[in-house]
Symmetry: D3
Amino acid sequence: MTKGITQRAVGETVDTFLLIKQSTKGVTTTGNPFMSLVLQDKSGDIEAKLWDTKDEHEAMYAAETIVRVGGEIHNYRGKNQLRIKSIRPAKPEEKKSISDLVPSSEKSTDELLEEILKYLFDMQNPQIQRITRHLLKKYQERILTFPAATRNHHDYVSGLADHVVSMLKLGKSICDIYPSLNKDLLYSGIILHDIGKVFELSGPISTSYTVEGNLLGHISIMVTEISKAAEELSIEGEEVLLLQHMVLSHHGKEEWGSPKKPMIKEAEILHYIDNIDAKMMMLDRALEKTKPGEFTERLFPLDNRSFYKPNVQ
Amino acid sequence: MTKGITQRAVGETVDTFLLIKQSTKGVTTTGNPFMSLVLQDKSGDIEAKLWDTKDEHEAMYAAETIVRVGGEIHNYRGKNQLRIKSIRPAKPEEKKSISDLVPSSEKSTDELLEEILKYLFDMQNPQIQRITRHLLKKYQERILTFPAATRNHHDYVSGLADHVVSMLKLGKSICDIYPSLNKDLLYSGIILHDIGKVFELSGPISTSYTVEGNLLGHISIMVTEISKAAEELSIEGEEVLLLQHMVLSHHGKEEWGSPKKPMIKEAEILHYIDNIDAKMMMLDRALEKTKPGEFTERLFPLDNRSFYKPNVQ
Amino acid sequence: MTKGITQRAVGETVDTFLLIKQSTKGVTTTGNPFMSLVLQDKSGDIEAKLWDTKDEHEAMYAAETIVRVGGEIHNYRGKNQLRIKSIRPAKPEEKKSISDLVPSSEKSTDELLEEILKYLFDMQNPQIQRITRHLLKKYQERILTFPAATRNHHDYVSGLADHVVSMLKLGKSICDIYPSLNKDLLYSGIILHDIGKVFELSGPISTSYTVEGNLLGHISIMVTEISKAAEELSIEGEEVLLLQHMVLSHHGKEEWGSPKKPMIKEAEILHYIDNIDAKMMMLDRALEKTKPGEFTERLFPLDNRSFYKPNVQ
Amino acid sequence: MTKGITQRAVGETVDTFLLIKQSTKGVTTTGNPFMSLVLQDKSGDIEAKLWDTKDEHEAMYAAETIVRVGGEIHNYRGKNQLRIKSIRPAKPEEKKSISDLVPSSEKSTDELLEEILKYLFDMQNPQIQRITRHLLKKYQERILTFPAATRNHHDYVSGLADHVVSMLKLGKSICDIYPSLNKDLLYSGIILHDIGKVFELSGPISTSYTVEGNLLGHISIMVTEISKAAEELSIEGEEVLLLQHMVLSHHGKEEWGSPKKPMIKEAEILHYIDNIDAKMMMLDRALEKTKPGEFTERLFPLDNRSFYKPNVQ
Amino acid sequence: MTKGITQRAVGETVDTFLLIKQSTKGVTTTGNPFMSLVLQDKSGDIEAKLWDTKDEHEAMYAAETIVRVGGEIHNYRGKNQLRIKSIRPAKPEEKKSISDLVPSSEKSTDELLEEILKYLFDMQNPQIQRITRHLLKKYQERILTFPAATRNHHDYVSGLADHVVSMLKLGKSICDIYPSLNKDLLYSGIILHDIGKVFELSGPISTSYTVEGNLLGHISIMVTEISKAAEELSIEGEEVLLLQHMVLSHHGKEEWGSPKKPMIKEAEILHYIDNIDAKMMMLDRALEKTKPGEFTERLFPLDNRSFYKPNVQ
Amino acid sequence: MTKGITQRAVGETVDTFLLIKQSTKGVTTTGNPFMSLVLQDKSGDIEAKLWDTKDEHEAMYAAETIVRVGGEIHNYRGKNQLRIKSIRPAKPEEKKSISDLVPSSEKSTDELLEEILKYLFDMQNPQIQRITRHLLKKYQERILTFPAATRNHHDYVSGLADHVVSMLKLGKSICDIYPSLNKDLLYSGIILHDIGKVFELSGPISTSYTVEGNLLGHISIMVTEISKAAEELSIEGEEVLLLQHMVLSHHGKEEWGSPKKPMIKEAEILHYIDNIDAKMMMLDRALEKTKPGEFTERLFPLDNRSFYKPNVQ
């Protein structure tokens, strides 16, 4: 398999199809127009400059355009950049599709769904199970293809489902060690906690925040969705309230966007599981790009820390 | 009209009907049982001790019992207390009702409703008006009788409606001064912002927090209610989202329980109006009990400040 | 009326008189000298670069020079800039004056004074009235022409008086709704609270902080001024202290530069009124530049929030 | 088996051996001397008052004395107390030993050791394994009998070893889910992280802080111990540094007593595992004492939250 | 010399003249009136209860009354108390004066003044010297007798002057080590920094906060006083501003009551000197009452820390 | 003596030997390679750009190379830069050594050692003296040549020893004023507090953080070193613990990297002395570069404040 754009070393030449992820016009200090592009394939993205551009280039090289690019990798302020030597839009007959050029889960949506259903079928409480299944089915397509975030972790096609599956595994092993936990509540909390993202975010590709996402946030949206689901299923009782609270409190603190702190045991554990899974992904990503004996770049969502990659493996 | 229990001076003797607001059993350091009572009438409440109680007294003098009490006002650690000389439960034939012995708004529920409707009729945007009217009607009885809080401010029968009316007046005058404000949004935000309290709190009297109130909070409950109302009225569009955001953000900051900070101008102003009205009531209450030239007790919800009552009036 | 420099669209050509607000020398990455100019007229300001400058240009195009500029509006990193095609200093015979080229209140200083006096005449307490009038008169010219800040809000000629007038209106309507407030104290607090700015800031145009402003701040300066006024008028008594406290505490918290938090009711309300008026101006300004359905740029003094401009008006 | 002292209901009479955990002299408001005792057995502890005591009682009923007590359970301010009717020191011929009257792990020290060794034997890196084994052996007796804290969680005989065993299980399952983790580092970190407690705390019973514990803390003590162990075993290299860092950073933040935040992946995970295990014990303990549908008392080390015990199990 | 009341051991009997520092009426849980007294002599103060008091006792044993008391020292909750066996007001012919019964500086006011003047005469800058001398003279009597605080440190007669003298010594030695410091500014800052206390506090004995002290604070009061002094002496120029800034910023941070942080080098150092001198006194006081090998009680103004008193001296 | 590179005025021409402190490759916005150099001599450092560089220049002008440079001082964004007109590596026969081109203490290492020993010989407690002497001797060379930091203060050859000597002087004068301080503890604490820096930092020149420094920090390293020293000298007893605590707590707060706050009086004072000495150096440095009547640049380690340099000297 061909090496991805982020796996190339400085000095390597490149001739490949890439997707324009971002495109920004600029003017040099001497007054000449240029464009800053972020180009990506499945492996990730890289920056590139297009010098001495003309007005028509702006439309030609807009975001979400597939282009054929020739160039060379060089290093600019400690980061790889692509020095463009040739560039042109892909031709229809080259049959390149966007989904071939964006990062996505290593599992298919069918596999992801199957894994989630395994935990759903393991639930004993019929109310919890029915609400969970209802919402899973109602938004199934989006749940299986959306990312979990616009950046930092699980920020790729099907990232949300990947995150849920990984958390469910962790949830199961914690329930085995601490049997006083209510497995149904925890599994359902894990499955539902971030479904609000399918309203908060714009879609699987070139993901941004929706107005609804900005003004309400995925947590509040989801609390309302659980209420609607319960109404649609004519379910009443404490289970509805408990699931709403699980979702509401999963950021752990008011400062982090949860209007209530966790007040049931399973909600507290959900918050931890969410954190561990997100941090493991961020750390693995950053450490992959780091040599043994060196430190990663500063990781903003990890309190801006640099992590050390030991020589000892 | 007879002086209320909180208006009596130290040394005055009392013989009147009072409602037991709280009742707690204790044991003195020498091992004798006693009861701590909080007794109230319309004017407010006062503490009292019942010494050398027997087991049967616990049931006889439980909370929400009306009693006839004789005694004398004395001062204990800077606060008035009632030294009980005689006490007995009220007799059915004395026809005392709880509503005569709890603080409540000076206005009738009819007057309060009429004032609120005046602002409702002033709205131009039909979607905003319909959602507001729908929710007002759906929970009308509770909205007109509930307090706005369990203590600190508007913590009495119809306190919620009093708070809303006062805020509407303030809202109107601010819209007059800053005409760029959307009056409909602001009025509706004021009317709806605390309706979630009718779920969060247990009722107009002996008010406590419900489980739902503790686990979800009035803000999240109300965001869902607006969504339901819109569905019931088949209203779609930005208005629903804006009203949800007004309610969601009215505490102003994540730390104060709003999962999103205000992000529309009217939401920012709603937060200010809410604050001014609550603080004015707390300050007026505390200053009423303070002599000119002296400081109030420390007021916890006002950053624990003591306020000075000037001699200059 | 001609369109102001900030009202021009990208691509429009310009040939007009502008005032140099700021002028900074630079060197390009290739070692050539250039100048960064901020040019303004009544409508606001715009950036521009002057390439390949010579040593004599520094004096010729210093701050507070009026120039005739020809050029074109273009967009640089999301902000409008002026691409200069021709520039020369204005000639004496062109009779351009600085006051025609700086933003200022829409009201004349006479109108502003008249409005403030209306509230002054409404005061009942002679001590409060006399101190207020004395200070108003003593610094009248500066009070009527200074801005209230170097940026963010009311940062234009007569901005301070505009701010005071708007706050007085708000103060009056709040006193009407909460009659327990002492109107005299509140009005005087509003008029005096920011007069220290006429010492803290350098003047109505090209405003910067004075050394005195940096080392003492407008709050402490004004507390001393009130003391001097009282001495000059031989006024003693609580009024002096109360007015000093109103000014001292109007930033609301120690962290925001008030060495004491508000400890009288009117001081608490003054803090709110000041905030509402400043925020309304900042929000109106930012929203004017924003299209319906979009978010403003991040507003630093509003906790770095972006505000949404609804489509619903 | 007889019911423990904390399992008795209000009103039950008691005649049993108990250990005096704390003993404090007091004087009633009327000037009479009394003693406040905290009495315990394996189930936990209860407060009791001894009225009208004499001087000789102070020595007779000092902490760590076993006594035979007759009395009755009553409720004081929402907490159970023991009303003492008869009390005398245990007689030597009654053969009561302190270890029968203090809470301790449900597992024997042999079982605990065996479980820990299982994970030790699973390590692959000889340096990490040798350092861990060395320290485990050096302080084996204390490690197997000390509590992990003076209160809140694992605050009983062998609590430290219980905590370590439970964390090792959790660590194993997390390594299974995230195979990029270095199992040896994580296991060793778990085993070593709190060994400094055997210096910080005074012993398994009547545990208090030592002067060394107060002035240095278990974290710094243990960092030095690892250095000594490495020297004793002539081990050099990165492993020593990594283990020191694991211990050093396991409180997660400077504010919580770690002079460095975690900077290797396994240290970050160690911090989470430690938290989850401590919180699960605190929550289980508090919820055991709570009825379904009610809230626990406020739990100080859990941000002072009250947790809800659902009716749904 | 007789031992002071705070130097007596538990069990000692006492028959001596004491000053009533505080006097509070109470009621026991059984309804009997009593009084809580705080009694003092030069060595410090001690609590005492007066049981079964009558109405006339309130006036007889009011604060600032000298009494002859017989009794015994006993220990109550870890603190010494005086068990009163006999008490009566001192008789005029016993010629006891309050100043013999309050703690005060070990130096006379003449000695204190002389020490301060030594540093004053050492100043070179005539403006700084004249302002300092003027204010020292204007409030000389109060400066030499007031405490520096109501509690914690230098809270005794002439405590303010003691604090200033000790800080001047420290200031001199720091100027010797860092000769770039402006000695005149630093000395003047030290002398003036707390003179506002003679307005903020009520007097040398039974010291409380004045209304002016509460509403303005000693810092703002003193900034105004420096301005008045300069006017009275017709001094203009930077020196006035610098001295005002020294006083204004000496608490170091906005949160600690300085509306501006130190912005000149000498102001920064003044803040440190003030802190060191206050902390040394608090620590010496607390450690005097502590045995070697033990910890002091928690010291609130030192971040609530307990300090260890080493066995090593 | 020739003027140092930082003492030159704008416009002066330069022809001198300089050391390359930092060297970074860049690309201009027009795609041409260049290098950013930081060049230094004993007086400090200055930035310079090398335009149109070739690949071989990277090795030729790497950090720690001595070069002969001709050029001119110009001002770029308020800071002096060197415009390079000629540059070449120094030739061996020119006999320039790095130590002639890096800032260093004005005192020789012999003088510094002699000063430190004076205080060492003044100690009375043999245990404290022996531990201090042992560590001083063990790491003597490094202690006498290392800087105390990588930037901000004492960041030059022998900066650590300079810092210690200056702190010892201050410590002595504080002990003279507050005789209750234990001089031995304080002197030893001063000498030892930063010795961990000789492990935390890479060396006297081109100083960076070591991996050990990043993962453990100089405080924890030194606590272990004291323990080892005590073991090597067979010293037991409280002195060891006290010295470890002095070092451990000298940053004053957990947030600043001390896992325990100071809990002995001398540790509290050590923290203040450390602060005063560091701040005096930072202030003197910043004020040297500032004209009277102006403000320094913002100083990050001083809460980002700008300091004013008075005209009054």
